[in-house]
């Protein structure tokens, strides 16, 4: 499948970075920054040290710190804010680039509005919900809507990247059309179903651009933790001034602010919104539109996945896998008849029989007789075949072929019927083949389970997610396929009501349920599910009911959606841990440096052996700012998700971000301190 819109963009794309640089300045506005209390504190600190710098430069008070120190701290505090702004701006920029690509789809088209028998040309942007428009071959569909009249083949490559045209027609599950797609043949009347600016594309664009982003519950909870920690450190730093005064030290404002900024969780505070936006963006790169950040988060939390059997778990095409000749019939005879009866059958089943006979049995069937008359499959006869003069070769549903044979006075061996029953029980489909009044045998058709799907489900099991297969098959067939595919449970003979009831039952047990669906009758279940991914090929009702739309209409995508959701939470957690763990080293850099002015004996606490009070503090501030820049790629890409148990995942994360978070700043601060000393600061 081609994805023309989702070319992997390098993390720091030239134009995006240039725009982001400008944006990070714009985001300095305190009104904007107040939304992020951690960075707001840093900005207030930067303003104060700037004022101190100006005062020192102009008045030169006696007890002032060297100008290069106050200047350096001030500069790097501003950088800290700017780097955080930059991270957010880059994430937004990438989202905007995606959105722009989506917008290109919605070029300004003229719509032919059809009202009361009168056709008027209006700009597409002026269409309201409920308007009817006519679209003919070659025309672009002006907005999301539903076909109320006609049938057409539509090129949806602009949205999905899939080049093969699809059929859209009035009624049923194939009636929805998307704005920006092109009608290739015929003429349809579309009823517009979205207000201007409210189509799901518009909503998604608003989300990735950050305009419509409201904090998700989890983001909010994390924010509270970060604000709480900021306040704790504010208390610790502010009270340090009187404690120092007691000890005979006058701490300068610059030093206290430097200490405060180093301690508050600026790393995660500065990257938090970038992480959220990047999560939406990653989903979009997978061609999934999410209606809210909350939906993405819920995806990471899902306990149960409801998966349709056909198309998700199985290929959806039944394939011939065996020939079972009737007693007294040679396999070659059955093979030849099955081959002849399928030659003109263009269905996947028919083609698979031809291929199977050719490759599996090795029959070299020549070209068919020119006099042959092919009998296509019809819903009435439920058979297809070929008439070779008087010879009527047929294949089809077992009961249909049995009736056909009996009509001609033939007999049907009971063993054959028993075999047909066994095939059905095993999850397969039997086709009977006859030649005139003779029953030749059976073709075993199997719905093939997708390759690698069992491993995939095993991964989900390791993550603690239960997979449940939904199928219309009878329970015995369903059980056979469920076992083959390795799902944890199945719902057989599923009806929309049964699906809905199953979801409700799971949710009553406190579980979060995700499902995919496309039909109108899926809509209630999609709405009930915590994560409902509607297929873009599905009906408008289904798309409205779900909270995500998969543009590729690939039901397996659900698995990737879950991973993106998990990645989002894990990235937040890992960076929070890293941010807090960093504080240990910063204490060891800054505290001995400032206390040494009163108590030289505290020197053994200066484990990094830094050059001077000033280089130590400045090095910590610089490190603190650089970490934000250094972690932008991680924030945008997300930490790697590995399917493993929660305990194993946590152990890994604690080792990398916890222990690593303690060690890295010791090294970093020492290097920066050396560099400052080498540059002549001391």
């Amino acid at each position: 499948m081609a994805h023309p819109r989702t070319e992997e963009r390098s993390l720091f794309d030239g134009p995006i970075v240039r725009a982001a640089l400008l944006d990070s300045l714009r985001k300095l506005s305190p009104v904007y920054l107040a939304r992020n209390p951690v960075m707001f504190v840093v900005e207030v600190g930067s303003i104060v040290t700037t004022l101190v710098l100006v005062r020192d430069a102009l008045l030169r008070p006696a007890a002032m710190a060297p100008l290069w120190f106050t200047g350096g701290v001030t500069l790097w505090l501003w950088f800290t804010v700017l780097f955080a702004n930059f991270a957010e701006a880059v994430a937004e920029g990438r989202g905007k680039a995606q959105a722009a690509a989506l917008r290109r789809v919605r070029q300004d088209t003229t719509a032919r509005r059809w009202a009361d028998g009168v056709e008027t040309s209006v700009p597409a942007a002026s269409l309201r919900k409920g308007d009817r428009v006519i679209v003919e071959a070659g025309g672009v569909i002006p907005g999301d809507g539903e076909i109320v009249e006609g049938i057409a083949s539509v090129d949806e490559s602009a949205i999905t990247g899939e080049s093969a045209p699809v059929i859209r027609e009035r009624g049923g599950d194939r009636s929805a059309v998307t704005g920006g797609t092109t009608v290739l043949s015929d003429r349809i009347v579309v009823r517009i179903t979205a207000e201007p600016g409210a189509s799901f594309l518009d909503r998604m664009i608003a989300l990735v651009e950050g305009a419509a982003r409201s904090k998700t519950p989890n983001e909010l909870a994390l924010h509270i933790l970060l604000v709480g920690l900021t306040l704790v450190f504010l208390i610790a730093c502010v009270t340090l001034v009187p404690f120092a005064l007691y000890s005979g030290m006058q701490l300068s404002i610059t030093v206290v602010i430097a200490l405060l900024v180093c301690l508050i969780p600026t790393t995660i505070g500065g990257l938090l919104s970038a992480i959220g936006i990047a999560g939406m963006d990653r989903l979009l790169q997978k061609n999934v539109l999410a209606m809210s950040g909350r939906a993405v988060e819920a995806a990471g939390d899902v306990d149960t996945l409801l998966l349709d059997k056909t198309g998700t778990i199985t290929l959806g095409n039944r394939m011939a896998t065996a020939l079972l000749p009737a007693p007294g019939v040679a396999t070659s005879e059955l093979a030849e008849a099955a081959y002849l009866a399928s030659l003109a059958d263009e269905t996947p089943e028919g083609r698979s029989i031809v291929a199977f006979v050719r490759d599996g049995v090795g029959l070299r069937g020549g070209e068919p007789d020119p006099d042959a008359v092919f009998v296509p499959f019809s819903a009435e006869t439920r058979m297809s075949g070929v008439d070779l003069g008087p010879r009527l070769v047929r294949k089809g549903a077992v009961d249909a072929v049995v009736a056909h044979v009996r009509d001609r006075g033939g007999a049907v061996p009971t063993e054959l019927l028993a075999a047909a029953g066994r095939i059905g029980d095993g999850g397969g489909t039997p086709l009977a083949v006859s030649d005139g009044a003779r029953m030749l045998g059976l073709v075993h058709l199997e719905d093939m389970v997708k390759e690698g799907i069992a491993e995939r489900f095993a991964r989900f099991r390791a993550m603690g997610i239960r997979t449940v297969m939904i199928t219309g098959d009878n329970p015995r067939t369903a059980a056979a396929i469920a076992e083959q595919a390795g799902v944890d449970d199945f719902v057989a003979e599923a009806t929309p009501e049964k699906k809905l009831e199953f979801i409700r039952r799971e949710q009553a047990g406190g579980k979060l349920v995700a499902m995919t669906g496309d039909g109108t009758n899926d809509a209630p279940a999609l709405a009930q599910a915590d994560v409902g991914v509607a297929m873009n090929t599905g009906t408008q009702a289904a798309k409205e009911a779900g909270n995500m739309v998969d543009l590729d209409s690939n039901p397996t995508k659900l698995l990737e959606v879950v991973e993106v959701g998990k990645q989002l939470l894990m990235t937040r957690g890992s960076l929070t841990t890293f941010s807090i763990a960093n504080d240990v080293a910063k204490y060891f850099a800054i505290l001995p440096a400032i206390f040494a002015t009163a108590y030289l004996e505290i020197e053994p606490l200066d484990v990094m052996d830094l050059h001077s009070t000033y280089t130590a503090i400045l090095a910590a501030v610089i490190f603190n700012a650089l970490v934000i820049i250094g972690l932008i790629p991680l924030a945008l890409r997300g930490v790697r998700y590995r399917p493993m148990g929660a305990a194993a995942l946590l152990r890994r994360a604690l080792l990398i971000y916890g222990v690593g978070g303690v060690v890295v700043p010791f090294v970093g601060i020492k290097i920066i301190d050396e560099a400052l000393a080498a540059l002549g600061f001391a």
Partner: protein
């Protein structure tokens, strides 16, 4: 350090380990069982108390009702204790004819005992009459511990009861929890402990001071009183307020190494047992053992620092021949030795007891740092009855939140999701503590009224201030000594610290209980992060240490840390 010393410490820990399960199972039966033990004796007493108080034991409280009952009960008790102290000269059982307690001191003491702190800005034997000791202070020794039971029971019910049909989201009945903890746990146990102590020579009488002729011909007045009964609940209820000024260092309070062991044992007995009760209530005792393990790690780490530091002795005194052999014996009782004193100091500050059998002021800087850090961790290492475990559970919620994020799931604890509301309340709990502690200590450090009370200059003086406010805010009650705390400034600010440390931290906990109560319990799966096992214990210990250390490290640097380095360089204060 001696093998004998380490053996004492190991023996103590093994005794607690062995007692945790039976004690916890007993309390689970008392508070959550269908039938309470000894129905004929204690059951009658329980029902009698309900009848007298007009309490319907079947009517349960919501979080708000529970909190209101707890606060009102404490407020009335506070006023009562204040009144008794102010009027003690008019009341009976005052053989020494002690005058009324001055208002500021009476207020400070009433707050101190109501909040289970038992900070004592006075010398018991020369300030409080026998009646005041038994009625005003003894009452609170029992009921403040009982109220602590209520807090953790309400929290545990909020976390473990399944959300759903009960629209009132009740957390139990405060009066029932109060009465049961008194009738079934505190009264019977303190009776037993008092008898054990009396058997070892702890006095129990209503006599006036005994006057004796000393060997060198002088006379000495020796204070008497109902000590054994007070001593039992002082330790068992994790109160710590001594009958005598010298507290558990006094031979009439703590005469032998055996009583020393018993007193330490009963301090940890109930908080350790409660972890098991908690596990029972959660339907998974591993949940309780995990919290027990985290507490154990922090406890053992504490002793493992104090004991060697004290045994090594004061570097400035090492030249003296005895010091090199005996270690830092200044301010310690010979009958307890260094191990018995180091262990006692760790226990009394881990649990918010505050009883002392040695002068923490005379510990080496590092030895004195540990008790201070123990209190600054929020009194969650076993901690006070109920409040310690509740605090540990709040830290567990914070740990689970971070852990949950790292494994990619919305965090949940005991199957219930942790959402913004709970985070807000948990952070409030975390914030209130340093705000009161550091805020008030900083004020004392730079105000004239604050520094006037210091006995020592330099970092040791700062340690005295920090210790006092850590003790008050943590509701511990032990003193670093050296600080003259009976001044209007200290009486007032320390009372404020005690009130904040008790009630402002109880309210968020009860609110968490209420908000968790209504949530659906999710069944655990492989994707849920297990809150038992070594990994969680390690994470929990790290979170407690990191929050404590990051908050108080700068202040500690200027106190005991710098003092340690100065002492190593031969400077003392």
């Amino acid at each position: 350090m001696t093998a004998h010393g380490w053996l004492q410490i190991a023996l103590f820990y093994l005794a607690i380990l062995a007692a945790t399960r039976p004690m916890g199972a007993y309390m689970a039966r008392v508070f959550e069982g269908d039938a309470q033990p000894l129905p004929r004796v204690l059951g009658r007493l329980e029902r009698l108390l309900y009848r007298l108080a007009g309490v319907d034991p079947r009517r349960e409280h919501t979080a708000a009702e529970y909190g209101l009952a707890l606060l009102l009960f404490s407020a009335v008790g506070l006023l009562g204790a204040y009144a008794v102290m102010r009027a003690q000269h008019l009341l009976p059982l005052d053989p020494e004819a002690l005058p009324a307690v001055p208002p500021a001191l009476a207020f400070n003491t009433a707050v101190s005992f109501t909040t289970n702190t038992n900070w004592q800005a006075y010398a018991g034997e020369s300030t409080m009459s026998h009646l005041t000791q038994m009625l005003a202070l003894g009452w609170h020794n029992f009921v403040s511990a009982a109220a602590g039971f209520g807090l953790v029971l309400a929290l545990a019910r909020g976390l473990t009861r399944r959300g759903g049909p009960d629209p009132r989201r009740t957390l139990g009945n405060f009066w029932v929890d109060l009465v049961r903890s008194l009738v079934y746990v505190l009264l019977p146990l303190s009776l037993v402990v008092a008898l054990v102590l009396a058997s070892q020579g702890v006095i129990q009488n209503f006599e006036p001071n005994a006057t004796i002729a000393t060997l060198d011909g002088g006379t000495q007045s020796i204070a008497m009183g109902p000590v054994a009964s007070q001593e039992a609940i002082k330790m068992l209820g994790i109160n710590g307020g001594g009958f005598f000024n010298a507290n558990s260092a006094h031979p009439f309070e703590n005469p032998t190494p055996l009583t020393n062991f018993v007193e330490m044992f009963v301090v940890f007995l109930i908080p350790a047992g409660l972890t098991y009760t908690y596990g029972r209530m959660a339907g998974d005792t591993r949940q309780g053992w995990a919290l027990f393990a985290a507490m154990s790690v922090l406890f053992v780490a504490g002793v493992a620092v104090v004991y060697p530091a004290e045994a090594a002795g004061n570097p400035q005194a090492l030249a003296e021949p005895l010091v090199a052999v005996a270690g830092n014996m200044e301010g310690k009782e010979i009958r307890f030795g260094i191990a018995g004193s180091s262990l006692f100091a760790t226990i009394t500050t881990d649990a918010s007891c505050g009883a002392v059998n040695a002068m923490h002021d005379s510990f080496t800087p590092v030895g004195g740092l540990v008790p201070m850090v123990n209190m600054q961790l929020g009194e969650v290492v076993f901690g006070g009855i109920g409040v310690g475990l509740a605090g540990m559970v709040v830290f567990a919620i914070l740990s689970v939140f971070i852990a949950g994020l790292m494994v990619g799931r919305t965090p949940e604890y005991l199957g219930k999701k942790i959402e913004p509301r709970e985070m807000k309340l948990a952070m409030l709990y975390v914030l209130v503590f340093p705000l009161a502690l550091l805020g008030l200590a900083a004020w004392a450090a730079v105000s004239e009224a604050g520094t006037a009370g210091l006995a020592n200059a330099g970092p040791h003086g700062l340690s005295e201030i920090l210790y006092a406010y850590s003790s008050a805010t943590g509701n511990n009650g032990s003193a670093f000594a050296g600080l003259s705390a009976n001044t209007p400034f200290y009486n007032g600010t320390l009372a404020l610290a005690m009130l904040i440390g008790r009630f402002w931290m109880m309210i968020p906990v009860l609110a968490i209980a209420g908000s968790m109560r209504g949530k659906t319990t999710l069944p655990p799966g492989p994707g849920t992060f297990p809150t038992h096992g070594a990994l969680f214990v390690g994470l929990l210990v790290a979170v407690v240490l990191v929050i404590g250390a990051l908050t108080f490290f700068p202040a500690l640097c200027l106190g005991p840390v710098v003092e340690h380095f100065l002492a190593a360089n031969g400077r003392g204060f």
